[in-house]
Amino acid sequence: MTAYEQTGTARPVRRLRYRAANLLDWVMLGLLLAGIALFILYPIVSVVSTSFFVKGQFTLQYYLDLFTKSNLKLIGNSLWVATLSSSFTTFFAFCIALYAFCSKEKTRRLLQNGLLLTMISPPFVSALAFILLFGRRGIITYGLLGLSVNPYGWHGIVILQTIGNISFATLLLLASFDTVDLKQVLASRDLGANPWQTLWHVVIPLVRPGLLSVIFTLFTMNLADFGTPIVIGGRYKVLATEAYLQVISTANLGKASAISVLMVPTAVVAFYFYRKTLSQSGSLAEGSKSFSGSGYEFELPRSIRCLLLSVVGLFFTVMALKYGNILLSTVSNTATGHIQFTTKYFHDLPRSQMSSYWRSIRYAVLSGVAASFLGILLSYYTHRRRLPGMKGVEFIASLPYIIPGTFFGLGYVAAFSHEPFLLRGTGLIIICNYTFRQISVANKSANAAFSAIDEKLEAAAQDLGASRMEVFFGVILPLLKSTFLTCFITVFTSSMTSVGAIAFLISPGKNVASMELFQSIENGRYGVAAVQAVMIIAVTLGINLFSMYLLNRGRKNQKGGNGRVPEAGSSQEAV
C-alpha cells in the first residue's frame, strides 16, 4: 500500500480553471436571461404596447371598447366552452388513468404508449375527421344512420377540445397516480375499507392536486385555443377566434392584443393554482413507488371496471376512427358519404411541400434540442442554484405557454419587424418562436426530475473537485438524459404541428409543413391536406417511437439502479 498522499488547496492553475468555469457559468446564465428577455419578454411587451398606444398616443380606448355587450357575450362563450371541455376531458382522462392504475404493468405501458402516440395530432386533423365522419354528410351520421347533424357550434368545439386533450391530460394524471404509495392503499384495505371506499377516501384525495392541476391547465389551453373554434365553431365565437380574426380581417393589432390581454389574467390564475398544486404533489412524490410493477393488484368493483374499460375502449375507437379517416382520405374521396379511390392528392401536393417538410423537421429538431437544454438550464439556476429573482424569470418563461399562441406570434411580428432586431423573413425567427414557446415544458419536467435527484450529488461532485460546468455537464445532464429525451419529443411534436404562433411568421421560402397543411385546409384541398397530415404524423411518429425505444433501453440499463432517476415517458407535468 502506498502512503496516503494529500492534496492541498487549489494551486493557481487549478484555480484558474475554476474561475474560467465560473465565468462560463455566468455567460451561460447571461445568455439564458438574454434569450428570455429578447425572445419572450420583448415580444410580449411589444404586442401589449400596441393595445395601449395608437400612433404614439397613450390610450385605453381598446380596453374600454372591450366591455361592450357583444364582447361580454364572447367572454361568456369562452368561459362556458372552456369550462365544459376541461371538465369533460378531466373526467375521461381520470377514467383512463384510473384504469391504467389498476392494470398490470404490461397493460399500463401499452396504454401509456398509446396515449403518447395519440398526442401526435397535426392541426385540424381532428376537426376534419369529425366533419367527415359526423357532419351533415358524415360517413357515420349521414351514410350509416341517415341523420343530418349540424356539427357547427359550441357543442362541436366542446367535443373536439374534449377529445383532443384526453391523451395529454391522461399522461399528466398518470404521473400523479405514480405518486400514490402502494402501502397507503394496502393500509386502507387492511383497516377494513373496501376497494370503492379506498378509491374514494385514499386514492382520489392523493391525486387531487394532480386533478386540479390538470383541470386548470386544460382550462387555460382551451381558452387560448383558436384553431378548433375557427374550424368547427360556425357562428359561435370565442375570445381566441375574435383576436385572430381581428388581425386577419382588419389588421387591428391593438384590438387583438387587448382581447388577448383579457385572457391573460385567467391564465395566470390557472397557472397559480397549477404551481400551488404542484408544490403539494411534489412533497407527496418523495420516496413513493408506482402501484403497478409490484405484485399487488388494486381491484375495483366490477361495475366500475366495466365503466372504465368502456371509456378506454371508446377513446381508442375514436382515435382509430380519426387516424383511419385521415389515412383513408389520402387515397380516397369520402366527401360525398361514399368512398371513391384516387391517387391524385399525391400529385396535387404544393410545389414547396417537400422543402417545407424538410425545413420543418430541421427546425423542430433544433428547437427540440434548444428548448430542452434551455428549460433544464432554467430549472437548474432556479431550483438548484436558487439564484435570487429566478422564480420571476421562470414565470416569464412560462408566459408564452399560457398566453394564446397567436398572441405570442403577433408579439414576434411586432418585435422583430424592425431594427434593431430585424428577423422577419428568416428561419431563425421560426426556430426561436418554437423554442421559446416550449421552454416551460422542458422547465417543468426538469423541475420534477430535479426534485427526484438527491441534491447531495451536486455537492459531492463539487466536493470532489468538479467545476460548476463539470457538475452541470458531467452529472446533471447525464442524470436528466431521459428528461431531456422526453422534452425533446414533446417540443419536436408540438413544433411539427404548431400553427397558431407561427401563422404570421412564415415568409416565402421559409414555409413549414404545418402551415402548408393549414393553407391546404384554408383553400379547401382536404385530400391534399390529408396527405400532408399523414406526412407530419409519419415523421413525428418515427421520432417518438425511436425515442421511446431509447428510453426503454435506458430504463433497462438503469434497472436495479438506486431509483433516483425519475421515470421518463410519463412526462410528468409536460405542460
Binding site: T7, T9, A461, D463, G465, Q558, G561
Partner: protein
Amino acid sequence: MFLKLDHLKKLYDADNGVKELNFSIDKGEFVTLLGPSGCGKTTTLNLIGGFLKADSGRILLDGEDITALPPEERPISTVFQSYALFPHMNVLENVCYGLRFLRRMSKKEAIPVAMEYLSIVGLSGYEKSRVGNLSGGQQQRVALARSMATGPKILLLDEPLSNLDAGLRVKMRAELKELQQKLGITMIFVTHDQEEALCLSDRIVVMDHGDVAQIGTPREIYFHPESRYVATFVGKSNDFREGGRTVVVRPEDILLRMAPDGPYTIVEKTFMGSHTEYVVEGDGKRLEASLFGRQNSELETGARVAVEIGHSFFLNE
C-alpha cells in the same frame, strides 16, 4: 493546530444555526461532533466543507484561510449521509471522479489509484458494478473510497453509518477506525449516536443549540461532563443534591447489596443479558443501577438493598 474555527457564525434565524464556534483540531485526529438533531452539527460540517457561507468568522486550515473558498477548491472531502453516489456511473467511475477533477489525473492514471482505494475498503472485484446494485454497506465503502482517493487534508463524514442496520453499523465502525489509524487522515465525524462517538473519537465536541457544550476526550466527556446537558446526553446518569451541590453517578458505578434492613427497595428490574438494570427507591432518592454478572441478576423486585457508590462527580454550576 491543523484546523481552526475562529468565531464562526451562521444563523438561519435566532434559534437555528451555529452561534459562535471556536475550536481547533490537530492533524490526524478523529473528532466527532455530537448532539441531537438541530444542534448545529451538520451546519458546522457544511461550513467546513464549503457548502454553506459563514455569516462571520474564519476557517483556517494548515495556516491558510479557506473561509471564502468554494468546495471544489478546498482540500476537504465529504462523505454524505445518503452517500451521493452518481447513479449513472459504475463503482470505478465514481471513485475516479475526484481523481480526475481534483488531482487532474488522466483516466489511465486514475484507474490504478482508484483500484487501490477500492481494495483498501474491501471492494476489489466490484469495479464494474452499478452503484444501485450494491448493498448499503458497500455503497458506504464506495463513498469512502471516492472521498479518500482525492487525498483530502480532512475527511468529513455526515452521519455515514445511520443508513445501515445495527450489525453492519458496528462492523463499519470498526473498519472506519482502522482505516483512520492506518492512513492517519484527519476526520470530522457527525453523529447523534453517543456510542459511536465514544468508541470512535479521539475527541468529542458536544453541541447544544448552536453552541459548543463541551470538548474533550471520550473519557473526559463521560466521566467529567461539565453540564447536566452533557451528562444526560452522553450515557445514563443519576443526579441528586447533596451538600448544596449536584452529584452525578453513572448507573454502572452503583453496587447493590442484599440487606434486609437496607434503606432502598428495588422497584423495577430489567434483565439485559450482559447486565441487569435496576431501579431502586429510598432515602428520598430514585436511582438507576446497572449490575454485571450472573450473580447480580438474581435480585428480585421488592427486595431491600444497600447501595454503594463507586465513582461520582459534581457538576460545575
